[in-house]
Amino acid sequence: MVRIVARRLAQIVPLVLGVIVINFILIHLAPGSLFDVMTAEQQITSPEMLEKLRHLYGVDQPAWVQLVDYIWSVLTLDLGFSYRQNAPVLDVILQQMPATLILMLAAIAIALIVGVTAGVIAAVRVNTIWDNLISLGAVFFFAAPSFWLGIMMTVLFAVKLGWLPVGGMREIGVDENALQATFDILRHLALPATALGLFYAATYARVMRASMLEVVRLDFVRTARAKGLSRTRVVIAHVLRNALLPVVTLLGLQLGTVLGGSVVIEAVFSWPGIGSLLFDSVMSRNYPVVLGVLVLGSLVVAVANASVDLLYMRLDPRVRLR
């Protein structure tokens, strides 16, 4: 078992290397010298700094040396320095990372719970009013841009009804104990996580519905009924466990877009994660941070992907022995 996990995690390495190479290519694609742009934009004039940066980016070395240098520095967790925050890029990103992870997890949780439940209901009550309503809802939430949904939901729940806060992650300037803080964060998390998650809920609902309808026709469901099991038990213990598999696969495939989506949502809700950081960095042309977010974001996705793969292996014994 450990070997399987280790092997799957090892597959992350070439991916990260690939991202680093792409980063490198992007750095050198910029019109003009990226180095000049970075130093000029950030108004670095001190000669030691210029020398340090020149050395860091190896501007005077041949390309392949620069590439190896760059790969090495990234692998040793040296992602450069950000003058805007006056801190190493890695630290800046890691500080904002937890907020994004919370948002992603919450969004995925909402997507799974809402989507799978909706899909199951639609399948169990196929071709009734419930099925049609759910399918209609799925189609609507699949087509609506998530940032727009976020704004509309803010208008309704925060501006008009005042139930939830408009943005941010915590109430500012209020003293709270751990429980109050958790509750506060949850209140602030509700709208952004829902706005981000509803799109995926729509896909999961559709896939779940189709999957349930397919599985319920399979032979082993008939066997389960022949044993005298109740309909509920047949659906939950037999149909559901098989029907969930494509949803898990789908989840794995979409993790990259979930992280991407959180960028926009964080901008809409002023959620202090790497999305906000990225937005700020793009606006201020803070290249090291942007590229750092690209690498670390990819790493997060790669690890999350590996986790979902391993989870799938746990759920479907047929793929275990490969």
């Binding site: 032979d219 082993f220 066997t223 044993k227 099991l229 213990a237 098989n242 598999l245």
Partner: protein, 333 residues
Amino acid sequence: MAPLLEIDRLSVSLFTRAGVLPAVDGLSLRVDAGETVAIVGESGCGKSLSALAVMRLLPEPPARIVGGAVRLAGRDLVTLSEGAMRRVRGKEVSMIFQDPMTSLNPVVPIGAQLIEAIRQHNPISHRAAQARAVALLEKVRIPDAARRLDDYPHQLSGGMSQRVMIAMAIACEPKVLIADEPTTALDVTIQAQILKLMQELQAASNMAVVIITHDLGVVAETADRVAVMYAGRKVEEAPVEALFERPLHPYTRGLLGATPSPARFGGRLADIAGTVPSLAELPAGCAFAQRCPLAFERCRLERPALSAPLPHRLAACFATEKEFSRDGAPVGS
């Protein structure tokens, strides 16, 4: 003596876009404890649907029971509520299906599936059910039973899967076991083993077995009595040796003629000319008339009812009736 299972003029219809199709039309059959009755016929003759109807496992959107009764120890299963029927399924009547490889849940270990079957009708602890599961696997001759409980279905061969299915079916000691093409998906060498296993289990528990098949070899080996179905109707019924020795209905004769056997070695396999009529276009008279070498005018106009040309034999055929009334033997059931 009242039969254990009595199917009384059971009718199942399919409600399709092409119309209402009489997939099973007035089937009557009785099965006693300890007997093995085979239902034989080509695909589409209604034998599987009859079995599913007994279990009330018909695929509900197209199929529905539209008439008749199914009495188990006197109680009509057709009129039972779904809740009451659930207590019958698996406990008094069990069923095993054709393809064992797809008939087991692929993501759950077989032990858990067995235990589920046991505990559904027996309020015992998990531990006790587990012990019973091991005993059941041993009963169906699966080696290393205790270790097997954690296996997944895809790790088992076809023969082993079918044994597990049988174990699940007899777990609660049902009075009747229905086997729908139990050996069709298995290797020929395994088929004999499975049939033998079923016979042993039956002998030990006096269970009644209804075996559905299109393979006359299986019938010859396991059945006490045989019912032949054609286009949704029963056309002949007889004790097994009598059927093979002297088939009465022309369809049965055709079936037996089409089965290769050493006695006919060298000659051509007799073929039944034509095809089974589609359920949407059943003729007014005998459904077999278009293909029957003995058909005459009356056959095409009137549907023959089952009659008893010989003791303990039934056949729905005017030609047979004519043949036996000429011999002076009694006619009419």
